[in-house]
Structure formats: structure tokens, C-alpha cells
Amino acid sequence: MADLRDMGRQDSGPHGSGRQDFDAVVIGTGAGGAPLLARLAQAGLRVLALEAGEAHPPEAMPTDERAQAGLFWRDERLSAGANPLPFGNNNSGCGVGGSTLHYTAYVPRPQPDDFHLRRTFGVGEDWPLAFSKLEGYFDELEGFLGVSGPATYPWGPPRRQGYAHPPLPLNGAAQLMQRGAEAVGLRTSPAPNAALSRPQEQEGYGLRPACTNRGFCQAGCSVGAKASMDVTFLPLATRHGAEIRAGCFVTDLERRGDRVTGVVYRQGGQERRVRAGAVFLAAGAIETPRLLLRLGLANSSGQVGRNFMAHVGTQLWGQVEEEVRPHKGIPGALISEDTHRPEGADFAGGYLVQSIGVMPVTYASQFARGTGTWGAALTSHMRGYRHTAGINVLGDCLPQPGNFLELSDEPDGRGLPKPRIHFSWGENERRMNAHATRLMTDLWTAAGASGLWTLERSAHVIGTARMGRDPRRSVVRPDGRAHDLENLYISDNSTFPSALSVNPALTIMALSLRTADGFLAARRKGESACDRGALEQT
């Protein structure tokens, strides 16, 4: 014990109290980790969050796409399959706040039928919980984060409460989508975005100002208007006594029997450990299964790393007569969910359509990658950047045996095996993509765009440790606890049994709060003697 205490004392400093015993340790500070960290701290638990990345305070955030590299996970991932998924400045996050530092804050709710794709279509996987179990959390989150949205949202079940703030202003791409949608008979609405259209007081942080329409959400918000975790749940958590240690990469989970007893991590080249009454793994759908596979944990089902999914996220771009200057305004200002269950579709599930803003370097890079254009053809295309506007879709993805994450033989900079992610579209994704491409082409043509080109892409990493009631077919229970371990929980997008036809952030946060509430209720009941034992120890 003495040597452990000595080790703990070395932790004192800007990010460390030196404490080495916690009721709960949360690994990751993104949308999965931060909400439950706050909930547990508010309940009076002694909680610690370990974050692999560094803090990126808003006031230090440059408005620059290349300088944003520090927000992303730069340890290399290997992308295999017919539709290899890019990582780095897409589909990864690193920093206090995780991927929410660079998400676009697009937060439409999933609809009730998103949770039972198999029941409706006979394919995919049903969730072990219904929309109604999350609805209260959606209400709570939209208020707490300060979601800006329309007074009446046209899709989904009637809402019990309105959005916290009026919608954000429409940028050029949104105006064009309105124009095109009207012509082809598609309903649109200002989109719900977790960025403030009015200032809002945030407990533990202070006043968050309204969005300045800077448009660089994907490069990190520099004013705190966007509801990233570092200006919302994390300050709430620390206000209630939670501790956050940045630059801490978790390497091991110590176990005794079917309990996790401690967390081992590296910070600044030193190995450290803390004892934990419970561990909440919230490292995202790549690092979560990577750690579990490396440690051979929570995998009696053989499902860890399996059921990897990514949304069909095809974009369509064109240029119009008007100046668009597409780097301004909230990127996803306008939405349509008329395609949630399109009539006569030859695929399962559905998708949403959104107008999209784009920063210049991102646009140039994806044009070069997506079309293979170089030389004078590339630079002449880019001269039209300020006339450029895009739309994209975001749709379901079915799990398939060939889509999974595994550990490669190639070590990364830390000496740990790089993950290899296999991803190929199946028939359902191909059909949905074809349907969406036709629709977007009609819409953008009607809006007056020419020189159209499509970027077939996938976005958001989902699956790899799915939840379910059957321990032979799933990794965690519906409350997020691992089937195989008494006190290990997973709270991130890896637990999603299906991809849903909306962006994942809001649902990740809702599940995070639900997992925390379930854990606290069980703890209050003193559900297991082990829990009591852990309480007495600390």
C-alpha cells in the first residue's frame, strides 16, 4: 500500500490531487464519459476522469484547419475493406471533451422506430430498450446543453417541450437547400444544433455566449457557444468535486475475480495507477474495443470488435451563381427527415438530409481525394470555392460479419498494436446511397447548382461492444454494464446495437446519463455485497 500512496502523491500538480482511491474512474471525457462523470459527482461520489488528450480551452482555439490537428487521435489506425474509413480529422477525438470538441453539434433525436429495425424490416438488430426510456434524457439534455431549434419540429413523436433556444440563422447552403427542397417537394426545417442562439449560464463554467457564426465548429469552438463537454458537463462535474487528469493513456485494468479493482495509465512517460470501485470505459468505438481486446476482457461472447458500423454519409457538392462563402454559419443549418422511411425504398431504415457548410482546406482535400483531380484542373475548380455549396445525408448502416475491428501486428508509438478496421458497404448501404444520390442530385439541380460531384463517404464509428440482454450475443447489458464483469461499464458509441438514422452524440449522452442513474440506483439499493465492500474500503 505504501508504495501506491507514494505513487499517488506524484500525481499532485495541475491535473492531479494525488488521490488514488475513487468510487468510480471514467476513461474518456467525450459524450460518453462526461455526462456520467457529472451525474456521479453530483451524487457525491469521488470520481476521476482519465483523458488521453490535453485540454484545449476555447480562447486558445485558432480559426485554422491545420492547427486543429491536436484535437484528433493521431495514433495510426489501419483502414481496410472496400470502403476503408478515414480517421484522424474525422471519426476520432482527443482532448478534454473528446470528439465533442470538433463535432458540428448536430443533435436531431432518433425516432422511436430507429430502435427496432429488425422488428420492422427483418434485418439488423433491435435495441434492448425503447425510445421512451431515453425520451426524458433527450428533454434534459436539450435544455442543459442549450440546443437551438425550431418552435415546431416536423418529424418524430410530439415533443413534450420546445428547444431551449430559437434556431441558428441559415447560411447560404441552407438557403439553397430550402430553394431546392421546395422545388422537389421535400419538407425542411431549421436543424436542432447544440450551439447557442442566445447566451446561457452554465453551472461551473459561467456564461456561454451566443454562436458567432464562425463556422469552424469542426476545428473547435473558440467562444464556448457550442455545447462541447469542456464547457458543459465537465465544468459541472468539477464543480461537484470530480477530478479530471489530462494526458493520461490507460494501459491496463487491474482485476480480482470478476471485478475491476484499479486502472493503470501512462502520464508523461510515467506509469501510474488508481484504485476504482467501478470503471466506466468511454473511449469511443475504436479505443474501447481495442483496450478490451488487448486485455482479453468482457469478451466471453466473442462480440468485442464485431458489428462495426458507420453511417452512410454521402455528400453532394456543386457551385452556384451566388457567392456562398461556405465557411460561415453553423455547418448543418437545415434538415429534412422526409427520407426517414422513404416510400417505395428498396432498403431497410432511412436517412436524413442536411445542408452543409465547409471550410476551404477540408473542401480542397476531399475534392482531391474524392475525384482524384490534380494539376490545373484542381486549382481551377478551387477558384470557385466561394460559390460552393453542399448537402449530405446521414443514414443507417447494418452490421455485417465482415465489418469489424481487430488488433494488428504493427505496434504504434506506444508499443501497442494498432487497430485494423475492416469496413465495406453491403447491399443495403449501396441501395440507400443510390437513393440518396438521386434525391440530392435532383434537389441541388433544382437549387441551381452545376458541376455536381458526389463524395461517397461514411461517418461516425458505431458498434464494437454492443448492448443486449443475451450475454452470448452482446458485450454489455442494457444499462451499460459488461455481462462478464461486476463493475465495468461501457458508455460510448460502441454499445449501439444499430446505427440509428441520426448523428450519435445526443444518444451517447442520453445513454451515459441512463447508465449513471442505473448505477446510482443499484448502489443505493446496495444491490451487491461487493459494492458495499468497495464502499467500506474507500
Binding site: 490537428a69 447560404g172 457567392e323 454559419g329 471550410m359 482531391a368 481551377s380 470557385g384 470555392y385 508509438g413
Partner: protein, 192 residues
């Protein structure tokens, strides 16, 4: 130094002095304007081949104003020497430095001295033969070029001049401090 008929240089200098650019942004941009890198990751002959490749893949746009030649190859070499990646790579492609060397090795020894038509023919074959490594290099060169603030101003945008924020964000709306220079009318050609 190329001509600057549209005054992009003056526009940028003006903006950088103004309160429209926040200090973290200004710092990044000023460093970038200064940046020149001596090759460290590549051998001298490899580096000159990379410079020649960069000149063909992302040629300085004569319609834009950038003083001198943007140091695209130097930025790539600098990133490789630092050991930093972009967080992923295609599984069928070797690690970044190896992939780039392989790409350059395929080109003929006299590539740098060939006329541009000949170079382009080699590059088209290279794009077919090693599509993923080619795509990665093309994307990186493109990102370096279009992150140059003078290139952006020449395109008629100044996304970095974002303080206190934008209020005129709709179609054909422009803040008074946004550049009007540069940028041809949209091209009707189809891609992809």
C-alpha cells in the same frame, strides 16, 4: 514574386493587423507565412523529385497571388520528420515515409528534368499503379497549399478573420472586411 493585381497581399497584411483576427489565429498564420523547411526525412534527390511532383500536382495558380513558390514539399518532409501522422492509413499502404519513398522511386531518374507533359504522363501512371499512396500525397499537398492565408484571400475568402463573428452569412452577403479579390466564376465542368 508574382504580380498581385488584386491586392491580396495588402488585404492580408491589413487583416492581420486588424482586430478581426484573434491572437491564437494570428500566431498560426504568421508562423505559416514564414515557414520554410530544409529536408530532413528525405534524401536530397528524393526531395527534389518531391518538389517537382508537388509543382505538377498542385501547381501555383497563376490567378492567385502568393509570393515565391509555396513550400509544399518542405511541409510534407517536415511532417514526416516529426513522426506525426494524420491518425490513419490505408491498410494496403506502407507507413507514410516508406509509401512516399516508394512512390518517388517509381519515377524515372530524370523526372525533374522532363518537360511538364512528360511528368504528367508519369504521374497519371503513378496514380493508377499506387492509388492510395498517390491520393494521400495529393491530399496533403492540397491541404498545405490551401491553408496558406494568401491563397485563401486570393480565393475571395478570409475565414480566419472571424472576430467578432459573421452576421452576413446568406447568399451574396459579404461583411465589409471580407476580400472581394480573386476567384473566377464557377466552372460548369463535371467531376467524379
Amino acid at each position: 514574386m508574382s504580380r498581385d493585381p488584386q491586392g491580396a497581399g495588402a488585404t492580408l497584411a491589413e487583416l492581420l493587423k486588424s482586430p478581426h483576427v484573434t491572437s491564437p489565429t494570428r500566431q498560426v498564420l504568421e508562423e505559416r507565412l514564414e515557414a520554410r523547411h530544409e529536408p530532413r526525412a528525405l534524401q536530397a534527390d528524393e526531395f527534389s523529385r518531391l518538389q517537382a511532383v508537388a509543382r505538377r500536382l498542385v501547381p501555383p495558380d497563376p490567378a492567385l497571388f502568393v509570393p515565391g513558390e509555396p513550400d509544399l514539399a518542405g511541409a510534407v518532409d517536415h511532417r514526416l520528420a516529426s513522426g506525426l501522422g494524420d491518425g490513419w492509413r490505408y491498410d494496403d499502404t506502407p507507413p507514410d515515409l516508406e509509401a512516399l519513398k516508394e512512390l518517388l522511386d517509381v519515377l524515372p531518374v530524370d523526372f525533374v528534368n522532363q518537360p511538364s507533359e512528360g511528368q504528367d504522363a508519369h504521374l497519371r501512371r503513378l496514380q493508377e499503379r499506387l492509388p492510395h499512396a498517390f491520393e494521400d500525397l495529393l491530399a496533403e499537398l492540397t491541404e498545405v497549399y490551401y491553408s496558406h492565408p494568401l491563397v485563401q484571400v486570393s480565393l475571395g475568402v478570409a475565414p480566419f478573420a472571424d472576430a467578432p463573428g459573421w452576421t452576413r452569412i446568406g447568399l451574396d452577403e459579404r461583411e465589409e472586411w471580407e476580400p472581394q479579390v480573386g476567384g473566377a466564376a464557377p466552372s460548369p465542368e463535371r467531376h467524379g
